[in-house]
């Protein structure tokens, strides 16, 4: 369980997340891609905390902040999906040719 192995796994999670966020058409699937990117970032943060910081609790604090970002992203994402669905009946990016409400 070396730092390098952890960082490679975190990078793989991030890469899969980038692929998903760019390629998916459904809003919820795009959110899944974003969450995977945050997942990788969180794993990297914990890996650095565990292997290079000597147990400085601020490293764990950074992970807590990433978790807050994740919660905010999920809540606002779901709210926006509901809002867009109400107005446009759209569940896919292709149905939003214009941004004007």
């Amino acid at each position: 369980m070396t730092l390098q192995a952890l960082l490679v796994i975190a990078a793989a999670l991030f890469g899969v997340g980038v692929y998903g966020a760019l390629s998916q058409q459904t809003f919820v699937m795009i959110m899944m891609g974003l969450e995977l990117m945050l997942n990788g970032a969180m794993l990297a943060a914990v890996a650095f905390w565990a292997q290079t910081s000597g147990g400085n609790p601020k490293g764990q604090l950074l992970t807590v902040v990433v978790m807050v970002v994740m919660a905010v992203e999920a809540a606002m994402g779901f709210a926006l999906i509901i809002g867009i669905y109400r107005i446009r009946k759209a569940d896919m990016t292709e149905k939003l040719k214009r941004l004007r409400g």
């Binding site: 990078a11 899969v16 699937m29 999906i81 109400r86």
Partner: protein, 208 residues
Amino acid sequence: MSGVTLVDVAFWVFGAGSVLAAWLVFRVDSMVRAAYWLFASFVGVGFVMVLLNARFLGLVLVLMMAGEMTIMAVFMVMFMMNPAGLNPMTMVHQHRTAVVAGLVSFVALAGVGLVSDFPDRPVDRGQDPTEALGVELLGESMLIFEIAGVTLLATMIGAIALASKRGRYGDAQAGSVAPELPDSAPSGTLEPAAETSMDHSGHGMGHG
């Protein structure tokens, strides 16, 4: 680094498993299954965190994601066409660009991780990291903790404002009209007559 320990085996199982589950999120036809594969990926990362001695954070991550993925699965069933994945489907755009972007970001980040020379100061196994985190959260970094709380409160208010049924973003009945689907309408959608009658039962507010 002498020999393969149980921790190493568990690390590789959970680490590789989380990447595999992440890949399957975008490979399965059913979106509900995709939500649970994503949950599996988070569980893998959560257990790796536990192995790294961040026990509190790992378990909080698993708990948080169990709730969030359930909401996500419900959202799939509510909003998306073909939520059960009975028909094979590929709902992707700019696929080649996305694959290249994903590969480039993976290679770049993994390369930085492999090439860079990081300090080697592992966590002292003697200390309790959960206690240290608690003291940090309610001590020196309390302002960050409180700002996180206020941010979550603002998010809750914003989510309600965006998603509420009445408001400046739409009238009350706008969400109950059946969506336009490209092919045949699935079972359970409203008949056109029922649709128009519902449109006139207005407790909608005007557009703001």
